[in-house]
């Protein structure tokens, strides 16, 4: 039978650890995930989950919308040569193509915007840089969606 040895008897403190004792304890290091005063209160949402899901759902729809768009604009009926104001006017005379383009605009901008948000979060290491890049990104996405939607629905074939 081995005699009982308490851990404190076996423990040999070395180096800087030797400076600490029960009377002079080492400073407490905060656990990395502890919530502090600086932690935003509302971090516990499922935003990233819904973002992940949106990328997949919008991706499937965009495959159909964008490849259809490429076929119409670049392949069928003379390819890019036929594209012009008259061609746009002909297409947007039909609500079907107006809503096709509207869905493509919104889904592609939000899909691309969320993708670039991920890229910024991955590579911009300074918190300030991240905030600025994402502010610029958000502004560009909102501007493009509003401008594009207005263009589709205020289009006037008789502008001249």
């Amino acid at each position: 039978m081995a005699t009982e040895v308490s851990p404190a008897d076996e423990l040999q403190l070395t180096g800087s650890s030797a400076a600490y004792s029960p009377d002079n304890p080492a400073p407490v290091i905060e656990p990395p995930r502890a919530r502090t005063k600086r932690t935003p209160r509302a971090t516990r949402t499922n935003f990233e989950l819904y973002g992940w899901l949106f990328m997949r759902l919008s991706g499937v729809v965009l495959v159909v919308l964008v490849i259809g768009h490429l076929l119409i604009q670049l392949v069928l009926d003379g390819g890019v040569t036929k594209v012009g104001f008259a061609f746009v006017a002909g297409r947007w005379a039909s609500p079907f193509w107006q809503y096709w383009d509207l869905a493509m605009l919104w889904l592609a901008m939000l899909h691309g915007g969320n993708g670039l948000r991920t890229v910024i979060n991955d590579y911009a290491e300074q918190p300030n840089t991240r905030v600025w890049l994402k502010t610029i990104l958000f502004t560009a996405v909102a501007f493009t969606i509003v401008l594009g939607s207005l263009v589709i629905f205020t289009f006037d074939p008789n502008i001249r």
Binding site: T81, F85, G112, G115
Partner: protein, 126 residues
Amino acid sequence: MPAGTLYRGREGMWSWVAHRVTGVLIFFFLFVHVLDTALVRVSPEDYDKVVSTYKTPIVSLLEYGLVAAILFHALNGLRIIAVDYWTKGPRYQKQMFWTVMGLWIVLMLGAIYPVLGHAARVLFGS
């Protein structure tokens, strides 16, 4: 550099890199494309003038590159969905990657004439 310390990745890593690069390129094109289309609200002449640059040989080559980026991003995106949702997706991710590359090459060969034919006629006469 000692052998075996540099991570060079394989199909999984390089498809991830290519997905990012093509995604960023497509996003910037989309931004410009909405701006050029907005010219239909300015005047038919301004719109047609800008669209005529899309019909020049150099920009046609860029369009072929855009088609390449979009087709890869679309096909690899479907592969990612299969890896996420298909039970055997992770096991077959490499085979699916090479399927994506095969389909991509076939589609890119098919796109040569429709996308670049006009540029060839401009450059070499019809």
